[in-house]
């Protein structure tokens, strides 16, 4: 089981507190689709993804971005149990959605960048260590866990 210090728990809670799911979610998913265009293959039903401005303005991308970030909340509120928390989601992504698990890391990286653009210097190295290097790594591992 992953060990979390008190200070890490506080950092995670404090970052999450400042996150506006309705803004950060859409920005993150849009960034993934623009920066890593092959990920668009999973969103054939979303309509126009033909260029950056289409993606940024696409309402289905926006809705789904919010869905993804709401799901992240489950990890934030259950840091001691992330693997079990995401067991079903992992199975869904693997068996039903057939998502290449490498893409989870790409989404995590884009989330960190969006947080950096929104928080500025408040996303300092120590916060990045806990949030990105540790929490998001655990989340990515949990989502990958049912693949094999």
């Amino acid at each position: 089981m992953v060990q979390w210090s008190d200070s890490e728990r506080k950092t995670i809670a404090s970052v999450w507190d400042k996150i506006n799911i309705d803004e950060i979610g859409p920005q993150t998913l849009a960034r993934v689709l623009v920066v890593y265009p092959w990920t668009q293959r999973y969103f054939g039903a979303f309509g126009d993804l033909s260029c950056a401005s289409a993606i940024m303005g696409n309402p289905k991308v926006s809705e789904h971005g919010k869905t993804v970030l709401k799901a992240l909340e489950k990890a934030v509120k259950n840091v001691d149990n992330i693997k079990t928390t995401y067991a079903q989601l992992s199975q869904l992504h693997c068996e039903k959605l057939n998502v290449d698990p490498d893409n989870f890391k790409l989404l995590a990286d884009c989330l960190s960048i969006v947080i950096a653009t929104n928080f500025g210097p408040a996303f300092n190295p120590a916060v990045q260590s806990t949030w990105q290097q540790k929490l998001l790594s655990v989340v990515v591992a949990a989502l990958t866990s049912r693949y094999f």
């Binding site: 849009a30 920066v35 653009t117 120590a126 990045q128 990105q132």
Partner: protein
């Protein structure tokens, strides 16, 4: 040879024009040393790297961060020949400094986060795409002489 669109070139120039090398360089290196602590092994002679505050206040880290960013500047000025521009630096890092080439990507990621946190929303998604392409070419050039 890597192909760059006019838009990608403009994005890269734009990012560099807004960069303060003496701030961004140090911040990126500090971040790498803090977020990926194993990288500290390359900086044994830098003195106190004991915790985040020590790293952030360490003058040798700051000076070296600036050096690294000026090094990156050369790629920006020679986008059509990054591979040759970094041939010597690649040999230096592999044969003399023995740096694990995975670490180039980590530093590149930290620099991207520093730029994102400085530019805020101005660091748009397509700017990020061009920037990450640029850094991927830089990292690949630095890794080249390793094998």
């Amino acid at each position: 040879m890597v192909a760059w669109t006019a838009e990608e070139r403009a994005f890269i120039q734009d990012i560099f024009s807004k960069l303060n090398y003496e701030e961004a360089g140090p911040k990126a290196l500090q971040r790498a040393l803090i977020v990926y602590p194993w990288t500290q092994r390359y900086f044994g002679s830098f003195g106190n790297l004991y915790n985040a505050d020590a790293i952030i206040n360490n003058p040798k880290v700051a000076a070296h961060g600036t050096v690294v960013l000026h090094g990156l500047d050369r790629a920006m000025k020679n986008m059509d020949d990054i591979k040759n521009t970094y041939a010597e630096l690649s040999v230096l890092h592999s044969e003399k400094l023995h740096v694990d080439p995975d670490n180039f990507r980590l530093l590149a990621d930290c620099l991207t986060i520093v730029i994102a946190s400085t530019m805020g929303a101005a660091f748009t998604a397509d700017m990020q795409a061009a920037w990450q392409k640029f850094l991927a070419v830089v990292v690949s050039a630095l890794q080249r002489q390793y094998h």
